[in-house]
Amino acid sequence: MHNYKAIVIGVSAGGLHALGQILPKLPADFPLPVIIVQHISPQSDNFMIRHFNSISKLAVKEADEKEEIVPGTIYFAPPNYHLIVENDFTFSLSVDERVNFSRPSIDVLFETAAEAYAETLIGIILTGANNDGSRGLKRIKDFGGFTIVQNPATSEVSAMPEAAIKIAKVDKILDLDKIADFLMRLT
């Protein structure tokens, strides 16, 4: 039996709907932190946070720099910052160059989280229009973590899941409405 310690999710176009099918289903005693990069305009306000806070049983917040990652919390990367996981399980933020035309970039979160959590990490790629996250998902797999990709056929935009499936050895390809249940069984 695996002892997972964190979940990272990367999502781009179509994210509001896709995350809406996952986050509200997680129970109040869900034992892991969920860390999310949603590609978003640099100027956006905290609409996503307020929206998901109002429909989720878990606390939803923007990740703060130096914040300790605690179980049962859903964290979003702030707009226009890369979100980095340090080896001591705290967050760092960076205004480094865009990666895959994105800031926040999914690869940056996934690659650093893979180092920190190694085989105790679950990585998920959802709907999206570019290939950000593929390298990061591969990195999670290399470190022995568990990798999930949304079934491209049930993705609002299939390019990002397809790119991830091509590059990373994916453990599970799941329809959107099956992902939350699967996470509850894994943990």
Binding site: D64, E65, E86, S92, L93, S94, G144
Partner: protein, 285 residues
């Protein structure tokens, strides 16, 4: 028997972390720049990126090359120094400066402002424009400092790629700009050069926040998105340095995701405008 891949990766990870510590120590011993208290994951990403781009086999090989090849050292130094910035970045911050802080600054006969970690200078010129429009520029001395000499050269020149002007103009308008942004630059080919009058009262200087000391009697210090790369210990040290460099009632402006939350000096600042991360040094200790 071959080790499982996972364990091999653990060994690589451990060795890489040791090699990075050695590289950072070598930089400090040879050149005096101290990155040892920077966020580890960030530093590692930058170094591994340079290793890949330069086709090196290991971080130790990079350390060796850096010690003997000044050009390679410069490349690494640029990697470790983030210079990504823009004019009027976070327009709501500048809007607050204009509406909340400028009226207080107008009560002083002479102003000293320190831009710590000014990188390529975009935010220095933004400040100069704001001060000019508020009638404050002529009575202000701005000190713009960075440890990165190449970035400082660009800041001094005030020349930026023309393809960024659209974004700068939008930011300027949202920041409460009072005239037309095009009044402040001349376009030539694919660049714009900012008006020389904006830097008349600016001194660009080499200063390293990590190893250098107090810059005295400032009315305002701007240090945005610099300390997010520091660990808590170094953040504390630098915030104390800022506190010691400010006049009582002076302002400290941080980046939109930074705060004094974890700082030991935090009780010595008022957080009246903390939505925009503008803090004020208390008048009494």
């Amino acid at each position: 028997m071959a080790l499982p891949i996972k364990d091999e990766l653990e060994i690589i990870k451990e060795n890489e972390n040791i090699e990075i510590e050695l590289l950072l120590n070598a930089i400090f011993m040879k050149f005096g720049y101290d990155f040892r208290n920077y966020g580890k994951a960030h530093i590692k990403r930058r170094i591994l990126h340079r290793k890949m781009v330069s086709g090196m086999n290991s971080i130790s090989e990079m350390t060796h090359k850096m010690l003997y090849d000044p050009l390679f050292y410069q490349e690494i130094l640029q990697d470790l120094s983030i210079t990504v910035t823009e004019m009027f970045r976070d327009p709501s911050f500048y809007l607050s400066l204009r509406s909340e802080i400028a009226p207080l600054l107008k009560t002083y006969p002479f102003l000293k402002i320190w831009h710590a970690g000014c990188a390529t200078g975009e935010e220095v010129y933004s400040m100069a424009i704001l001060l000019k429009e508020e009638g404050l520029l002529k009575r202000t001395q701005i000190y713009a400092t960075d440890f990165n000499q190449l970035a400082l050269q660009k800041a001094r020149a005030g020349i930026y790629p023309i393809d960024r002007i659209k974004e700068f103009t939008q930011n300027y308008q949202k920041s409460g700009g009072k005239s037309s942004f095009s009044d402040y630059y001349n376009a030539r080919y694919d660049s714009v050069i900012l008006n020389e009058s904006l830097r008349e009262n600016v001194v660009f200087a080499d200063h390293n926040l990590v190893t250098d000391s107090v810059f005295g009697e400032m009315n305002m210090i701007i240090c945005r998105n610099v300390m997010i790369y520091f660990d808590k210990e170094l953040q504390n040290k630098v915030i104390k340095l800022f506190h010691d460099s400010l006049v009582p009632g002076g302002f400290l402006c941080l980046g939109s995701k930074e705060s004094l939350r974890f700082a030991e000096s935090s009780p010595r600042f008022e957080s009246t405008f903390d939505k925009e991360k503008i803090y004020r040094k208390k008048f009494t200790v």
